[in-house]
């Protein structure tokens, strides 16, 4: 893909960041005025965006086919809600604490994960996810077991802000900040290291990229995103139960990044929206959601292996580049063959 010349169209075409911010601003203004169902969906969207962006960092950018994201989402939700319920701490404390707890667990699972590749990693993280669910169900003194538990939702400082609007505002803010942070990160040396690990572990290592550190960073970051999303979910629902963190949700999150585009931040955002739209749109579809969801997943992988982001790449200004190059110096008349085939 060669650099395109700057045209009028290129300059007028809104960049992803502007489209995203305008959409977010519209959401911020319209959602609280809409009915409480749409507000809820908008809130869920923000949470899904955080989840999808975080998962894409690990799966799309670093190439680690882990299946523990739903469990980490749950750890964030449980951590946030339980600190609130057991110790009465305010959300301003428990939300970051829940996210950190998820991060620590994420880092912990990255250590054995370093030795595991491909499907072995998949199984190990799958086992971890099932183990986590088991703990949610059985550690009843702490987690209240299968029945779940209610979390009092905070009154927000600003007057007139209901818990619904307040948690939506916070989720939206965090979704914006965390998406921008991820978009910035993948363009940095850390992001390149992650991509290098995905595209060739051995070569990456030979260039001085520390595999353990890079993978641990990806696991930890991804877990932090999942944990934050979990805390927001608890805040939004006012209710935490194990059903929300099972393998169906893992599949849901995978579907978001596949539909949106692996290794694409814009794709993560769009994928989260698309999957939520599908779930809500087909809610009343007499039991065919599963089929539609499965077909979407298969179809996306088969027909659009690069997801929606694959199409967007073609829009001027939307190609996801990690480095914006300075205009290259005039090429020398070829010193060495440009084309040579054996």
């Amino acid at each position: 893909m060669s650099a395109r010349p700057e045209t009028l169209l290129t300059r007028l075409m809104p960049r992803p960041i502007w489209v995203g911010l305008v959409a977010a601003a519209l959401l911020a203004v319209l959602a609280p005025q809409a009915n409480s169902y749409l507000l809820f969906v908008a809130n869920q969207l923000c949470i899904y965006v955080i989840l999808a962006v975080g998962l894409n960092l690990l799966v799309g950018y670093t190439g680690q086919l882990a299946f523990a994201h739903a469990a980490l989402f749950g750890i964030g939700a449980y951590g946030t809600a339980l600190l609130k319920v057991h110790f009465g701490l305010p959300f301003i404390v428990t939300l970051p604490a829940g996210a950190l707890l998820a991060t620590v667990v994420g880092l912990a699972i990255s250590l054995p994960a370093l030795r595991l590749t491909g499907l072995y990693l998949t199984l190990a993280t799958l086992a971890f996810a099932q183990f986590t669910l088991w703990v949610f169900l059985h550690w009843e003194g702490v987690t209240f077991g299968a029945g779940g538990f209610r979390v009092p939702r905070p009154d927000w400082l600003l007057p007139g802000l209901s818990p619904d609007v307040g948690s939506f505002a916070l989720a939206l803010l965090l979704a914006i900040v965390m998406t921008l942070a991820a978009a910035s990160l993948v363009r940095s040396n850390t992001g390149r290291a992650m991509i290098a690990v995905r595209d060739g572990e051995v070569a990456a290592e030979a260039l001085g990229i520390d595999l353990l550190r890079t993978k641990a960073t990806a696991f930890g970051l991804s877990a932090f995103y999942a944990g934050t999303a979990g805390g927001l979910q608890a805040l939004m629902l006012g209710y935490v139960a194990p059903e929300s963190f099972d393998l169906f949700h893992m599949a849901l999150m995978k579907a978001m990044i596949v539909v949106g585009g692996m290794g694409s931040i814009v794709g993560s955002v769009i994928g989260a929206g698309a999957v939520l739209f599908l779930l809500e749109g087909l809610r009343a579809f007499k039991g065919a959601q599963e089929i539609a969801f499965g077909l979407l997943l298969m179809g996306a992988v088969i027909f659009f292996p690069r997801g929606v982001a694959g199409w967007l790449q073609a829009l001027p200004g939307w190609a996801e580049r990690y480095l914006r190059t300075a205009p290259p110096p005039a090429p020398e008349p070829d010193a060495v063959p440009e084309e040579a085939k054996p």
Binding site: V19, V22, L27, Q33, S36, A146, V165, L237, Q289
Partner: protein, 414 residues
Amino acid sequence: MPPAPRVAPPVNPHSAPAETEPMRRLSLLVSVAAAMLAAATLPARAQGAPGVTADSIRIGSFGPLTGPGYLYGRLVMNGVEAVFDRVNAQGGIHGRRLVLTREDDRCEPAAAIAATRKLIHQDQVFAIIGGGCSNAALAARGEIEQASVPTVIFAAVADGLTTPRAPTIVSTALTSGLEGVAQVAYAQQQGARRIAVVSMRDAWGRSRYTPLMEELKRRGITPVADEEVSPDANDATAQVLRLRQANADAVILLLYPKPGAVFLRDAAKFGYRPLVIGQSGIADPAAFEEQVGVPGATARFVTISQVRFTPESPEMAGWREAIQAKYPSDRLSVFNMFGIGSAQVLVEALRQAGPNPTREALMQALNGVTNLGTDTYGGPITCTPTDGRCNRTVVWIQKEPGGPIRIVGTTAVE
């Protein structure tokens, strides 16, 4: 745990539509998103009660249509739909057709909240009949209370749905606490001295286990064994061995049919035959006998039915045909029968709410349902303003190996 106090939302369901802004310079994507949101915020026709038009009444239903719990959602709703069809065929309620809007909650709290909000605020239903899974329905309870929508719970059994009393929620399902009381009473009545509990630790199992343990404690009984079997288990040897060692003479079984069948099969394998007391999750002893598959293994198995017939009973012929006609690949099941019973209660209340129904009138009618007979439930249905547990009749059923299903007794729990 009591529900958290809530701050009333500033959102007015009849608020004006978002002002249409000039969108000339916004990109296509943004305008599409805005249009969607704006369209969605249009208020419903603000005439009369929500969901009621000149010729129809919209009733909402939430429950699992997909996922492992679909039995408690889709199949129950099919029963509801069958009743609605019959009512509509007979001219509807005061000339209005009943329309059922289904929303899937996949047995998940978050999805259930979204589903009820959608029903209430988006679909603008008049009343709700639904609730398949305990945790999902518990999560939805807050939304229903907040919006004061008359609601009949048709399958979820958690006590927390009706206790403490939510003003607009009644349940025609036999709540788990009632079944627990009945199970313990039955065991004692049969002279059991050493009672053991075998349960699943999922939300369904938990919603039964907790009140059961409380009831045992209240009666001063300590179970001699307390074992778990997972919903997908294919083996229960360890549990059976432990129960045998504890010499339990009665086992209260809080399991779905599959793990229940595995348990009884493995018990039979060791020739261990205590009195086994099931609950309404295993409501068809004939099917259960086949599922166990070992002759004689169910000889001392007795279970609770919420309904007084089996799907094969001659009394059910009409509904059997109705279900088969509407859903050709289905057979009438007890889950359909739950839906039939609860829909009949709702229909009666709607009738009593009069030709110009309001939610208040419907709620009053529901709370005033007294000794209402249905085609399926074990006993008459009675709701009161203080107690939303309208179905209190436990029907004990048993099937002698090779013989017919017998109703061995009914217990009306106070």
